[in-house]
Symmetry: C2
Subunit: 345 residues, 2 copies
Amino acid sequence: MVGNGRTPSVKDVAAAAGVSLGTVSNVMNRPEVVSPATRERVERAMAELGFVRNESARQLRAGTSRTLAYVMLDGGNPFFHDVAQGIELAAEDADLSLFICTSNGRADREAVHLDRLMQQRVQGVLITPVNPDAPHLAEISRRGIPVVIVDRVGAGGAFCSVAVDDVLGGRIAVEHLAEQGHTRVAVVGGPESLGQVRERLEGARQVWAELGLPAEDLIYLPTEALSVAEGRSAGERLAGIPARRRPTAAFCANDLLALGLLQQSIGAGLRVPEDLAIVGFDDIEFAAAAAVPLSSVRQPRQELGRAAAQLVLEEAAGGRHEHQQLSFVPELVARASTVLRPKVF
Amino acid sequence: MVGNGRTPSVKDVAAAAGVSLGTVSNVMNRPEVVSPATRERVERAMAELGFVRNESARQLRAGTSRTLAYVMLDGGNPFFHDVAQGIELAAEDADLSLFICTSNGRADREAVHLDRLMQQRVQGVLITPVNPDAPHLAEISRRGIPVVIVDRVGAGGAFCSVAVDDVLGGRIAVEHLAEQGHTRVAVVGGPESLGQVRERLEGARQVWAELGLPAEDLIYLPTEALSVAEGRSAGERLAGIPARRRPTAAFCANDLLALGLLQQSIGAGLRVPEDLAIVGFDDIEFAAAAAVPLSSVRQPRQELGRAAAQLVLEEAAGGRHEHQQLSFVPELVARASTVLRPKVF
DNA sequence: TTGTATGCGTTATCAC
DNA sequence: GTGATAACGCATACAA
């Protein structure tokens, strides 16, 4: 297919088709301007040589890249992959490639990735940041690369952002538990350096106070991460509380924690929801698939990603652009982990 | 920081530092060759201007990219993300970026992604293919881009590959169930177009025959995908089997199916493992986290990815290269879904 | 409609 | 130790 070792370039195609280099370029970028006859000749030559355009050269010359990037906060959490899936769909529609990176909660890894992405001159960066106030985010934006914060609202409206109202999410979760008659509730989550955690817990406390329930009956069990293992650990601590002071329900800051707590509790012989009701956050697929299906505060995961991608593309398109903070409304999905006979499944 | 709108280039840095363009390049690529004094001067200029090297230009000139790519088969399956994590770690060590794409089981999407990756001139492609015999894989390889098949062995040794022995995996799963005294077992999985599925089921049948058990007591429940939803559906079909012909155990071709089956069974009032024992495949984190912890055939997920990345790098490094088929040995992890008092947790 | 020429930002080979 | 200079592969303005 290709004679020498080198991968064929436009020049080779031009020679093979007996046209000039510029014409080959034209069939790729403005096919309407070249006559059907020569176009077909060129296309045949491309096929025969196995020509594949060199994207680096294209980008260098055109000055514009065809890739987006998403920097995930936690690669072990399916929630972020669902968000990524939404981004990918939007990228697909715009005929863009998507770079996916993972910071796994570490600011230094995040910085390394962002630096690489700048070197690649990506068209836009979507990110669920370790810390939305970190200076390297602002720097990227200052360079003219659109940045959109996902699942968190950017500090001071410096960027576009797409998120659900986490405070409201915390509210409806605890409100739901209160409606079921619970008067001692655990809130499980951490680290508090994560804004999502802070706000969800804040919502829980708000509504608890508004219901006139005593603050000491809302028991905070801090965790070091939003993981299944930490959920189990919280479960052990919860079991250690003397029976008559022990909460009869728990609100977890995400589904991973809730799943861990659920497992530990069942393993310890508790009945869910009779002895302990549990509500999570995110509504990942595995929440519904747990052996005791998990009630959860649903975020529109794919939609979040899709909307974020649209914002970044809009900003990249240039023209007048106003940063916007898109806020979705979370929704409680009640399942068997909180109600004996759930209406919704 | 930067006066005009353009992002600063080496030329700008050179001007600012009062040196030539070549010297700036030298401080980036062979710092030892430039005197400490001028080096520092150049570095200061870079910092002041906020210079970021243009990777496209670098790649065009150097002829070599600094990125790897992984094309996943199913973005909804945590197994592949764990593999990806392993790849990313290896890429990190080699100072490479990682492109992650998802075919979601569709050959056309896979082809689109591969085409893009060729345009990007990635250094290597790791892929869990829809079909390892597809011609576009061979074409990429023919172009001199190393291809490594992940979680599947490549056809006829045309590529390197890294996988576990799926036949053996199927064997140990069913052997385990037989040891627990089960004499009617369901095997759940599909579509059979997936090699992983074919081989796991094949292993199950092999060992069943070797144990001298009648073939009609190994009941095949085909599924249309390896998903939680399909697992639930299989559960419904299983429940429809007349009680005295109904299997007392099930082997699922992956954990997603097993989780779905588990949920459906518990919901239908079955006790696991007393009424139905279940063993899955992959040992994703959620297997252990299920309310009835799931027995599963463990694949070394991260290791798979890491090893694959090493192979692709080795091949990319040039020199004499022999395609190898790495095969890991799967391992049964027995948990509460098959044994009442599991030794391993 | 097609061909020619120039430059994108970088690296690397030379002279100096 | 440093400075000119020629590619790399492609897109585009302009000439033919």
